[in-house]
């Protein structure tokens, strides 16, 4: 059972809804971005930055802190929204001009406070996360590393090089989370490039596999606890999500992978999200 109280859960759901709202406004403001994959991972980010990770915006370099790598760098606006919820970025982030240096199209570790790694080119983040996990182990200071990957990103061979190496080094302070929304630019992941059976693949590579509903913050929190309890090997959360989650006309539609949002679309989307922000979570 999750150690989360009903109040904690409501708080995470509210953070997720706020991440969704801020992501969409940021994307609307700049006239480009990736709404689908930002919405699908909002609940995962809400859990990580809403209390699961040991991070502190007042002491961003503190020893023993946890690390996060957004391997799917195109969900940058969702990351900035989460960092804004966590206090690394201003709460009124959506009022920044769209070309503000904090709001890079893909995350840049030198330009945005709280961003741990520059990403955007897919496939590279898990290797970097592994390096961070090895460094934390050398330092013996207990930091854990969370890497959020897209499921389309699993087409990249480097992901599997990193998966092999992480198991080889038995890093149990590394958690990969696959935002398994099932869609990529050209359609369903299985149609573009078959990556199933995913669970068997990660298991065969030596990972502890946890399957979870990635749009349920309570379930994600519990899955992360489950991952933490396994020692001697890395863990992966195969987090089943809905692309465009929370906005009915974006859900499950690949065309919302990368697309500008019109003013009327934003209005409709925010109206849907507002009811959830107040009412708690997506159903």
């Amino acid at each position: 059972m999750t150690g989360l109280s009903a109040g904690d859960l409501e708080r995470l759901k509210t953070i997720a809804a706020r991440i969704r709202r801020k992501s969409l406004v940021l994307i609307f403001n700049r006239g480009s971005g990736h709404p689908g994959g930002s919405l699908s991972c909002a609940d995962i980010l809400a859990v990580l930055y809403g209390g699961y990770m040991y991070v502190d915006p007042a002491r961003p370099d503190m020893r023993g802190r946890d690390h996060f790598v957004l391997c799917k760098g195109h969900a940058s606006m969702a990351l900035y929204a989460a960092l804004s919820e966590a206090g690394f970025l201003p709460d009124d982030i959506t009022s920044l001009p769209p070309d503000h240096q904090y709001l890079q199209g893909h995350p840049d570790r030198w330009k945005t406070p709280g961003v741990e790694m520059s990403t955007g080119s897919l496939g590279q983040g898990l290797s970097v996360a592994l390096g961070m996990a090895l460094a934390a182990r050398l330092d013996g200071c207990g930091g854990r590393v969370f890497a959020l990957l897209g499921d389309g990103e699993l087409d990249e061979g480097q992901v599997w090089e990193a998966a092999m190496a992480a198991a080889n080094y038995r890093v149990d302070n590394l958690v990969a989370i696959v935002d398994r929304n099932g869609l990529q630019i050209m359609g369903r992941t299985g149609e573009v490039m078959e990556t199933e059976p995913l669970s068997a693949k990660w298991s065969a590579f030596g990972w502890n596999v946890v399957e979870v509903d990635g749009n349920d913050p309570g379930a994600v929190w519990e899955a992360l606890d489950l991952a933490r309890s396994v020692t001697g090997r890395p863990s992966v959360l195969l987090a089943k999500t809905v692309k465009g989650k929370g906005v009915s006309f974006m859900e499950g539609r690949p065309e919302w992978h990368a697309k500008a949002i019109s003013a009327s679309e934003l209005e409709r989307a925010l109206a849907e999200l507002e009811s959830r922000e107040k009412g708690g979570g997506c159903e």
Binding site: H67, V69, D108, R109, W110, E116, M117, S118, T119, G120, S121, Q124, G125, L126, S127, V128, A129, L130, G131, M132, A133, L134, A135, A136, L138, D139, G157, Q158, E161, A162, M164, A165, N168, Y169
Partner: protein, 321 residues
């Protein structure tokens, strides 16, 4: 008999020394540690050595992650694979992320010889030089290779160090001072200047001796720091001698020759000639024979000096006529 030493044989010893001085230094290998000599570091510091298998792309990313967490990772591999195979990883995770990763590329240029074109890095200098934030060092001999690895570790930010495989003539008895962006003038001259890097520095010095016999006074510059380039030194040499020859164990497209040409064209357009791998992939042969085949011997450097001086005279004749 000229004294020789293989630059790669200095790598292990130097890494061990630096490992003692810098507790945060770690080394990564892609299953070539016995050839690159990084295995010597593994024996000395087993917990700070990471065998990444034959997977350079992942190695570059892991190095970036280690650097992001405060380590000084040195990834050592064959020049062609740590630069070209892992190029986009080095581009995003190392150079753009501006992380403190050191890349040592062994078996650079034609020195790998018989293994042939697949293993001969001809373009590594050009592609590493094209990356913002990246420093590129191509040291002249074993002692300067030690200086280059030390300079790389001291420098904050990504550095690529090229290392030759073969025994090559000793130019420096002890490791010289090597600072990124600073050239070393080995010989002054009046008539022309040879600007060289890597194993071509020895050939440049040999050519200068041959030209002494012809009554021609030639300066020789060791431009181990290909990037940042010592542009002031290039301008100074061009101003004083009015004729420049570059010599490198890499493609003349994008390498030292190109870097020097960029400075000359913008600041002091004097006649110049480039010696190096002439925009071709290599082939399997003994390295010395490859140097002969691609026009990279001391004799070829000497001819290039003669040609560039003829152009200088012709130009001055026109200017005065």
């Amino acid at each position: 008999m000229t004294k020789t030493a293989a630059p790669r044989d200095i790598v292990g010893k130097t890494l061990i020394e630096l490992g003692r001085e810098y507790p945060e230094l770690v080394v990564l290998d892609a299953d070539v540690g016995s050839s690159t000599r990084s295995a010597e570091f593994a024996a000395a510091f087993p917990s700070r050595f990471f065998q990444m298998g034959i997977a350079e792309a992942n190695m570059a990313g892991v190095a970036a992650g280690l650097a992001a967490s405060g380590k000084i990772p040195v990834m050592v591999g064959f020049a062609v694979f740590v630069t070209a195979k892992a190029f986009e990883q080095v581009r995003q995770s190392v150079a753009w992320a501006n992380l403190n990763v050191k890349i040592i590329g062994s078996h650079a240029g034609l020195t790998v010889g018989l293994d042939g074109a697949s293993h001969q890095a001809v373009e590594d200098v050009a592609i590493m030089r094209s990356l913002p934030n990246m420093c590129v060092l191509d040291p002249a001999d074993a002692a300067e290779t030690e200086s280059a690895i030390r300079a790389a570790v001291v420098h904050r930010g990504p550095v690529y160090v090229r290392v030759g495989r073969l025994k090559s003539p000793v130019i420096y008895e002890t490791p010289p001072r090597l600072t990124p962006g600073k050239a070393v003038v080995l010989r002054e001259g009046k008539d022309a200047t040879i600007i060289a890097c890597g194993i071509m520095v020895a050939r440049a010095l040999e050519a200068a001796s041959l030209l002494d016999g012809d009554g021609i006074s030639v300066g020789v510059v060791d431009m181990a720091s290909v990037k940042p380039l010592d542009g002031d030194c290039v301008v100074d040499c061009a101003g004083r001698t009015g004729a420049i020859v570059t010599a490198e164990n890499a493609s003349i497209v994008g390498g030292l020759g190109s870097a020097v040409a960029e400075v000359l064209a913008e600041k002091v357009p004097v006649p110049m000639e480039r010696i190096g791998i002439p925009d071709v992939f290599g082939t399997s042969s003994d390295p010395e024979r490859l140097m002969e085949r691609y026009g990279m011997t001391a004799e070829h450097v000497r001819s290039a000096v003669t040609r560039v001086m003829a152009r200088k005279r012709a130009q001055r004749g026109r200017d005065n006529g």
